[in-house]
């Protein structure tokens, strides 16, 4: 079968292969702007899905809705469902803090705590109840984030002394320390140079063996390089969702075509 002929049905994932799914998800901000309009989408397990779209299309808002981060923005109203392990994470009985450990997030700008490299990882784990030595956790998290070799001899140094790319990998290590299943990434390389970007991209390829990754990116080539599935959003709507190879060779929707070929707006 040719790449161009792959249909979404060939990539139908049975329910136990879905890590996270949204149904009729709507997010409205305090000023009445509806940023996400009835989004329904399923993310396959242990795969990377990229969400692309022009600024203001609702992709970052949708991403934050996947681990209840929008609740931290006053006046935001979320409707619909986000299902994780067959439970709606918006169910009143669900604790949002637990949700955010299982569905972690990495942000656009590296935001390490102004503490040592060691404490950046140990601190979050301690808050979540880890007692005793954190040495093992710090080492394994840094190894998973491909940072251990670079920092093992200076764990007590300030995290802020690291380069941008290293800081971002530290933030990923901090997320991994909480043993998440899904990692949400909101333009994680937009503040990084090409080499640091390459290291983060390589890392996501490694991490998807054990985790489900959903990444919002403005960099279309990045979506092409690292993702298995790509979702294109426009003005709060999901326009097209397809295997990345299909979407970048022969998109179904004219609006997708115009956006990815740089002819939109």
């Amino acid at each position: 079968m040719s790449i161009a002929n792959i249909s979404i049905m060939d990539f139908f994932y049975p329910p136990d292969h879905i890590a996270l799914s949204a149904k009729d998800l709507e997010v409205t901000y305090a000023d009445g702007v509806k940023a996400v309009k009835g989004l329904s989408i399923s993310f396959p397990k242990k795969a990377t899905t990229a969400i692309i779209g022009p600024s203001g299309c609702g992709k970052s808002t949708a991403l934050r809705a996947f681990n209840r981060m929008n609740e931290l923005i006053p006046g935001t109203v979320t409707r619909g469902e986000v299902r994780f392990h067959s439970k709606n994470i918006y169910d009143p009985a669900v604790d949002p803090v637990t949700v955010r450990t299982k569905i972690g997030m990495v942000f656009q700008k590296p935001n390490p705590f102004p503490k040592s490299i060691y404490d950046n990882i140990a601190w979050a784990a301690r808050i979540h109840g880890l007692k005793g030595s954190c040495d093992e956790l710090v080492e394994s998290s840094l190894k998973k984030a491909a940072l251990w070799d670079e920092v093992k001899d200076k764990l007590k140094k300030s995290a802020l002394s690291l380069s941008g790319g290293q800081q971002q990998r530290l933030c990923i290590a901090r997320t991994l320390a909480l043993t998440p299943e899904v990692i949400l990434m909101d333009e994680p390389t937009s503040a990084l140079d090409p080499l640091s970007t390459a290291s983060i991209e390589e890392l996501t390829t490694e991490l998807k063996k054990d985790y489900t990754i959903i990444i919002v990116t403005h960099n279309l080539q990045q979506a092409g390089r690292i993702s298995d599935m790509t979702a294109f959003m426009l003005l709060g709507d999901l326009i097209e969702y397809a295997p990345t190879k299909k979407l970048f060779v022969n998109p179904e929707d004219e609006r997708t075509e115009r956006y990815i070929t740089g002819r939109f707006g």
């Binding site: 040719s2 161009a4 002929n5 279309l220 080539q221 092409g224 970048f248 060779v249 022969n250 998109p251 997708t256 075509e257 115009r258 990815i260 070929t261 740089g262 002819r263 939109f264 707006g265």
Partner: protein, 218 residues
């Protein structure tokens, strides 16, 4: 909606491609005319044109490589560039066949009994029609015209088979004419291949426009 920088580059490639196709079509028609009229001098013209055709192919390829390297095209832009690459190669081969045809004229001068040359010339005219149709289909981004053009390949194939059979029968009767007879068969084979190359080019145009791999050689 436009992507002006990219579209201007593609327009420049379009111009080169149309020019290249026109030169190839002209070369095939001239070769056909040379065979029909025993005009040996036309060979030089066709040979010189082939040098220009080869240069145009390289120019087109360079454009495509630069665009892929600098603009990272996707979707229809990517399909367009990849199809252009294939088309240029197919046109270049067609130009080579025109040279072979024109070159053969020398062998048949003062040999008016070789009526097979008329049939070769007719096949060459069909080939020129395919080249013309392919170039138009590309220019107009018309997969329908590409599909229609590829149908001409059947006519060339039939003509080729019939000519080979007749020439073999002739060869058994006049074995001393083996050199010229085998040359007729070779030329017929070249034109059959020319038809195949234009069919491939038409398939590339369908991929460019529709994003599907069509088999137009059925």
């Amino acid at each position: 909606m436009q992507n002006p920088a990219f579209d201007a580059d593609v327009a420049a490639i379009d111009e080169l491609m149309v020019l290249m196709a026109a030169k190839v079509e002209e070369a095939v028609l001239k070769a056909s005319h040379a065979l029909k009229t025993q005009d040996v001098d036309l060979y030089k013209t066709v040979k010189n044109a082939d040098g220009e055709i080869d240069k145009l192919q390289l120019q087109i390829e360079d454009h495509v490589i630069e665009l892929i390297a600098t603009k990272q095209p996707v979707a229809s832009d990517l399909r367009k560039l990849l199809s252009v690459f294939k088309l240029a190669a197919d046109f270049e081969r067609a130009g080579d066949y025109a040279v072979h045809l024109a070159k053969a004229t020398k062998l048949f001068v003062h040999e008016p009994q070789w009526h097979q040359l008329e049939r070769i010339a007719t096949m060459a005219d069909l080939g020129a029609q395919m080249i013309h149709g392919t170039a138009q289909a590309y220019k107009q981004r018309s997969s329908a015209l590409a599909r229609q053009t590829a149908l001409l390949d059947d006519e060339i194939d039939h003509a080729h088979k019939a000519l080979v059979q007749d020439t073999l029968a002739f060869l058994m009767q006049y074995p001393e004419q083996a050199e010229r007879a085998t040359r007729i068969i070779t030329l017929s084979g070249h034109l059959e291949r020319l038809g195949d190359h234009m069919t491939n080019a038409c398939e590339a145009i369908v991929f460019m426009v529709e994003g599907i791999h069509a088999d137009l050689n059925e």
